[in-house]
Structures are given as structure tokens and as C-alpha cells.
Symmetry: C2
Subunit: 429 residues, 2 copies
């Protein structure tokens, strides 16, 4: 019994006509030749694609209308890997793609249904053939981690690697990254590499590339177009913008957040429109100011992770804050309520933290909007306790910035100064 | 030199014609008589109102077209307090207004510019005369706290008070509350008083009532209308909906969040439209299901605050989680990344927490969307570690629910059961 799981209409017809089914070894020719095994389709499979698993383990969806030839191979024949090779065109600009892992570099394990990271940057590049028409893309795999497993050590690895290319002839650099923590990474790079001369685009995918609804290709294509055409530098997160298949948003790396667990348009610039919208090959600009406030590129790639993020809530236990002090934390970023408040039950411990020389910064768990601690008398009390209002910095960004500021300052005064300096558009007006 | 700070156009004309200015003691007659001192105007003052400070310290804005008479009093004459009294109309439904503090019950201290809580529920009621035409409102002041100082003890005070009125002849109950933590309070009341027979409306104001742009009156009027007309029960947060002055939103108390530090339309239902929109006196319904999933009212008003909210981020220190375990916490609500992840550097400690019988629940720091821990192999690892995915419960709501579940369960199995039971629409489909 041939199996056609998930195939409908035109694609089902295509398989039957060619006497192949799920599990068949085939060689499919479009503009390139793809050898692989036909895979089942999942989710809202359309009828226009057939999905094959390449030897690399990576799955690619091929549009049926683009298929010039399909050849069935004997099932037990070892498929000879013919990695599609792209001719370089020396008239095109050069882009570097660094791969770090994540859904954009993942495949579904069809046994368990779970998604695992596997794709190398080279595979990623060759699987989106449009890219080769826009730029000559060199690829390098730094590591392959789910982004929830990315640590500050990985940030350092990425920033060291980027430092190497700061005066290269690349027009821009793409970092393929898992979406969960890409805004933490983009923040760190923004501070550590302030003034970096060429644009950096951090790109992910909310759905893995072998799913019908994947946004991997459109995000990569949008990022490449942005790097090739834009005249700006800066660190941007480039992700799907809305439910349509044509729009990609380019967010400031210090003003962006993942605001939905699963939607393709999960990423949003907080409190503003994205810096750029890439729609139907056009780049619409919203960016008003330069991203880096300092023009000179002088990397500061140290950090100290002794920063606690404390989200205040009714019932928050002052003893927990006490423990944080005892554990030698050097900075505390509060996610206060509303305009930047914490309850008076923890005032005493906060006072103690201040006396110990711990940096105390205030952000808001509202996420959007500016903290303002002069409106209510309780806010004024907090200022007296030494808490520094961090304007409209997003809590996650303030956390990363504090790690970076601790690593690159001699003393708490230096930390305060860096925290209040607008380095990479982390504060807006 | 008479001072007219902030008065323009018609209102300025009005003051000049009547030979009064900022600081003048006056008695103004509209439908009621208001004795007080003319106050300067701030922010985007319109030209249609004059603001006077009553002896109570509360400021009220009076529409010039409604003023029948203005009488200037000798500056040094002690103004005799004539609290405007409202005649009760026995044909109107009865509403109870409980005041707990917050901006809605605040006034600006014109010396420091800061806002302090002062207003009693009775003053609040009489200062919005429209209310008397809609309902007979009884008022009671429970306490006067900024909402960042509200603790679980206050939740208990409120719920005990509400229990007293569960079989009263009130059509509904308004709780005037500071906005910072009103969604925490609404969550607790939703769980503790599941099945409460009459609707509860928690109402606040993003701008204090004596500011031109205050939303106090419109929120109170909207809430009163809702309680009088609606046929539902449930716990709702009723706040300004958009930038217009006509629209009030009525949010499910377990699906709402303050998402902006200062905008009047800061409150949003997460992942859905508000349950009701009150616009131009019409109530538009979006609520599809009953709020309380259990119909029977059986109050469970215990709680245990030994719940830690842990927002995972790159660089999160496993030792901090270790301390939380050592401190005897009985539940941990993770704000994981993306679909509900935490980094593998803290797996060992999580395992330990699970072995100690600590309840481990997963929500997402994305805020919107459902956690889904079967998509990636790392999510599957977390399930193996005993972490319970909490669907699309908002982290703050999961925290409050865990405090409540701990207080009302015999053991961890009981906690798990309550956490996964949809009690007051805290999970949606």
C-alpha cells in the first residue's frame, strides 16, 4: 500500500502519476537536482509542494510547478549525496552567514514528531536558492544550540567571531539563531559591538523549514535583501511581520521581544513600528535615528552574569531578595509594577542592597512604556532608596545591559553611567 | 495679578467674566452645589471645564455649560463643607462600591506634584454625579493602599468582605483599586470566590481624577452600567479601552494585563478581545462562555505565598533556584522562553525540586500564546523533569493560582489537579 500522508489535490496527483509515495527514494530536478526521500506532510499542507528529506537530514519543499523531472530510485540504492552547488557571481555583494542553531536550522524527527537542530549553515544556504541570486553567501557554523540553551558564553563566542570580520569586505552578516532568546543575543551584541561598521541581521524561524508554513526562507531572503541594500549599520532581528507571506520586519535589536509563543509574527518592536518593513522586495524605512549612538567601533566584550532579574508581585518575599544579596549579586534589575514600583514590604532589603553597593535598576513588567518614579510618593521613596529608573528599556534588555556594564566598568559609578547612556537605541524618546 | 494657569478659551473667559481666578474660593452650582478653591489645569486641558478642590482634598472638574451659578467667597472665609448629597431613587438597582485605594482614589499634591491616596469611596461616588442616575451606590472604604503595596493579606480582606455580600440584594460590586496590581487581585478573587453569584467589577484609573485626562469617571460609569445591565457573573477588570473618551473595556479578571506604564488604554485582554466593550452606552459582547466553569459558589479563601516566579534567561544561575528550594518554596512558576523552555544548565536543580515534591509549572515570558512542550526535544526533557505545562495561563495569573492552590490542597497531587482545572476562564482554547 503506497502511503501519501498529508498529500492532497495536485501534489497527491503528482505522486500517483509518477508512481512514487512517502518513503520513495527519488531524484527531483528543478533548477537544481535534489536527491532524497519523499516525506509525509504535516499541518496545513498545501497541494503545491512535495517535501523530500536530503541526505543531510534536512527537508526541503519543492514546488510542483517548478519540477522539471522526477526519477524514482531503487529503494535500497544508497543515494549519492549531490549537495546542490551554487555558482558564485562575482558581481554580487558578499554576505556571511553564521549558524548557531534553532528552528531555522532544525528538522522534525518524524519518529517522535519533535524538532532537533541539525542544519549546517551551508545546507541552509543551499536550500533557499533565491539567496544565490542576491549575494555570494559564505557560511560558517559556530555551534548548534536551541536558543533556550544559549548562554552568555555563546554570546561571547559570537561577538569574538564578529570582531574578526569587522573590517572584512562583507556587506553584512546574518546570524541564524533560535527564536526563544534571539533578543537577548541581539542586545548583548549591540552593547559589546557598539559601532560595528556593517549591519548584523539575526534571523530565525518560528516554524521549522520542512513544514509547509515555515517562515525560514522568507526571513532569510528578507535579511539578505536588507543587508545588501540598506545603508545603515546596527544589530537587527529580522523576522516574519504579519500573517501574510510577503512581509518581513526588521527590528532594532534592543527594542524587540518575542510576544507570542507560536505565531509566525511573534516578534514585535516595543512601543514603535519596526525599523524597517520589507514588503514585496521594497524596504520601507521607519528608523529615524542612527542605531548606534557612538560612531566609533571599540568592542567591549566582557560581561559578568551576577545580575538578578526580580519581577515584583504581591506576596514577593523580602527574604528572597536577601538571599540574592548574600549570594554576591552585583546588580538587580527590577521588573516593577506600573510606572516602576515595588511594594513597601521589601523597602528595607532594597535599602540594604543599596548600602552594599549593588546596582539597582528599575524597569516595568508592563513591558511597554516608560518608568516614571516621580509621579507617586512611593516612586519617590524608591529613588531615595537608590533605585535608578531605566527609562523605557525593556526588562530583558536592561538585564543583558547590566551584565555587560558590570563586565566593562571599574566600579558601580561606571555601571550607572553605562546603564544610563543610550548606546544602541535601547532607550527611545 | 490673577492667575489663570492652564485655562484657555471658554473656561478662561468664564473665570474672567465672573471675576475669579486660580486660588479663588467659590461656590459653584450645577445640579449640586460644590464649594471649593479653583485649581490650575494641567496637561492637555480642554476649555470646557473648571477644576475646583473640595474641602475633602478631592478635585472635581465641572463642565462650564452645566454651571448655573458661581459665587465668589471671601478668600479667608472658611468654606463650610457641604458634601453633595444624593437622593436615593428606590426604583434603581443597588450597587456596592468598595474602595481599596489607588489613583482612582487619589489626588495630586500640588506642592510636590506627586499623587497620594486620599479619596473615600463616598467622595468618589458623589464626585461622579452620573452614577446616581444609574444606581443607588453604597460605599465602603476597605483600606487605602497604592496597589504596589497590596499584599495577599489584602486579597483576603477583600474576599472576606465580598463573601459577606454573596447573598445580598446588590446587583453587582465595584472594587476601586490601584491599577498596578489589579490583575493580580482579580485573579485571586476569581479563584477564591469561583461561582460568586453577582458580577464583580474592579475599576481603576490610569490618571488621577483631578487631571483633565482622567479616566476615573468614565471607568466608574462604564462599570456601573455593566453591573446594572449585564446578565453574567464573574470578576472583571473594567478600564478605559482606547484613546477615545467613549469606550470602556471589560476584561476577564484572569486574562488581563497592564501592558503599558502610563497610557489610559494600558489594560489588554491577552490573546483575545475584551469580554465586553461599553461604547456610547451600548454593551457589545464578546464573551462566549461562562466565566466560572463551576456554577456552585463555595469560597476557598486560603492561600500560601510560598510560590516563586522564576523568569528564565540566558545566564540564569542554577544556584538561585537551589536557594529557592532550600528556602522551602512549595511551588515554582517558570516564565520560560518561547513555547515553555528553560536552559539545560538548570535541569539538575529542577530535577531536585521535583524530587522534593515542589510543584513546577511552566508559562511563557512571551505572555501571549500557549506553552507547548512536545514540539522540541528539550521541551520533552522538561516534561520528564516533572514540569507541568500550564496551557496559555498568563504567568502572573499562574503565580496567584499556585498560591491559592497550595492554600486549598492537601498535597501536591491536589495542587496539580487545581492548577490544571479551568476554574475561572484562566485558560482559553
Amino acid at each position: 500500500m503506497p502511503e501519501y500522508t498529508g498529500y492532497v489535490g495536485k501534489s497527491l496527483e503528482f505522486l500517483k502519476t509518477n508512481n512514487v509515495a512517502v518513503g520513495s527514494s527519488v531524484k527531483i530536478q528543478t533548477d537544481l537536482i535534489y536527491p532524497g526521500i519523499i516525506m509525509p506532510r504535516y499541518e496545513h499542507a498545501d497541494e503545491n509542494h512535495v517535501v523530500i528529506k536530503l541526505n543531510s537530514g534536512y527537508n526541503v519543499g519543492l514546488e510542483i510547478d517548478q519540477i522539471k523531472k522526477i526519477e524514482k530510485l531503487p529503494t535500497n540504492e544508497k543515494i549519492i549525496e549531490e549537495q546542490p552547488r551554487l555558482e558564485k557571481n562575482s558581481s554580487l555583494p558578499k554576505i556571511l552567514l553564521l549558524s548557531t542553531g534553532g528552528t531555522i536550522a532544525s528538522k522534525v524527527d518524524y519518529r517522535t514528531g519533535a524538532v532537533t537542530p541539525i542544519l549546517t549553515a551551508d545546507e541552509l544556504n543551499s536550500s533557499v536558492p533565491e539567496l544565490a541570486k542576491m549575494a555570494n553567501i559564505d557560511t560558517e557554523m559556530l555551534f548548534a544550540e536551541y536558543s533556550e540553551n544559549i548562554t552568555p558564553d555563546h554570546w561571547l563566542q559570537i561577538s569574538k567571531k564578529l570582531e574578526e570580520f569587522s573590517s572584512s569586505d562583507y556587506k553584512g552578516i546574518i546570524i541564524a539563531h533560535g527564536t526563544d532568546t534571539m533578543h537577548y543575543t541581539s542586545s548583548f551584541l549591540s552593547f559589546a559591538l557598539a559601532g560595528y561598521p556593517i549591519p548584523i541581521a539575526i534571523v530565525g524561524s518560528q516554524r521549522s523549514s520542512d513544514r509547509a508554513s515555515s517562515d525560514a526562507a522568507i526571513n532569510l531572503i528578507g535579511a539578505t535583501q536588507f543587508l545588501v541594500e540598506s545603508k545603515t549599520n546596527g544589530v537587527f532581528v529580522i523576522m516574519h511581520h504579519d500573517e501574510s507571506d510577503e512581509t518581513v520586519a526588521c527590528h532594532f535589536g534592543t527594542r524587540v521581544r518575542k510576544n507570542h509563543t507560536s505565531k509566525r509574527n511573534a516578534f514585535q518592536t516595543i512601543g514603535d513600528d519596526p525599523a524597517y518593513i520589507i514588503i514585496n522586495d521594497k524596504i520601507l524605512q521607519n528608523q529615524k535615528d542612527e542605531y548606534f549612538k557612538k560612531k566609533e567601533f571599540k568592542p567591549k566584550t566582557n560581561l559578568d552574569t551576577k545580575v538578578a532579574l526580580v519581577k515584583y508581585h504581591p506576596g514577593y518575599d523580602p527574604n528572597l531578595l536577601e538571599k540574592i544579596i548574600e549570594m554576591g549579586y552585583r546588580a538587580i534589575i527590577f521588573e516593577g509594577t506600573g510606572l516602576g514600583h515595588i511594594g513597601n514590604t521589601i523597602y528595607d532589603v532594597v535599602k540594604k542592597a543599596n548600602e552594599k553597593g549593588i546596582f539597582l535598576g528599575m524597569t516595568s513588567q508592563c513591558i511597554d512604556g516608560r518608568v516614571r518614579m516621580t509621579v507617586y510618593e512611593s516612586g519617590r521613596d524608591l529613588l531615595d532608596l537608590g533605585i535608578i529608573p531605566l527609562e523605557n528599556m525593556i526588562p530583558e534588555v536592561a538585564l543583558v545591559k547590566a551584565m555587560w556594564a558590570l563586565g566593562n566598568s571599574k566600579d558601580i559609578e561606571g555601571v550607572k553611567e553605562l546603564m544610563l547612556e543610550n548606546i544602541a537605541s535601547e532607550m527611545s524618546h
